[in-house]
Assembly symmetry: C2
């Protein structure tokens, strides 16, 4: 299992637009993408313009397929202008 | 439910020491701390000195109790000298 923490920094005047797009991405991914164990959207309680998607995938191959999917590429293109700076993504493995 | 992402930057020569301490913290927290839904240790696959604890708590009160607990305070004191710089912590609520 791999875990993704994908942090986005959203412009003040683009929050509603971003939330609608991100919810759509969560829905499409959960519905369509094989190997997706979890895909959830969170808002930072101290920095309300920080929105983070926390994901679990069976393995890296399924993650790559997700990133190559039509819905991901289309929605990410629309999310991009909502961001005030580039996001941060960490890919993690669990320490047992 | 609240979600915590707590990122730690560990010195090269302190990795083993940190892992032992963090595993102990994970174990003590899962065993003792009320309201803890999940408390897991991850390693960044691209930056192996980045270790992140991803947590789920029923609410902020249980998180505060955890932070005030004897095991948390004792272990954090020992983890501190393993870190090359201050960690980062985000507290998130889920966007439904």
């Amino acid at each position: 299992m791999i875990k993704i923490v994908a942090k986005n920094f959203i412009k003040e005047d683009k929050m509603d637009e971003f939330i609608a797009l991100a919810k759509n991405l969560v829905e499409e991914t959960n519905k369509n993408d094989e190997g997706c164990l979890k895909y959830e959207l969170f808002q930072d309680m101290n920095n309300p313009n920080v929105y983070t998607i926390i994901e679990e995938w069976e393995n890296g191959e399924f993650l790559q397929k997700h990133i190559a999917s039509k819905h991901f590429k289309e929605i990410i293109l629309q999310i991009d202008p909502c961001c005030e700076k580039p996001g941060e993504m960490n890919i993690y493995k669990k320490v047992e």
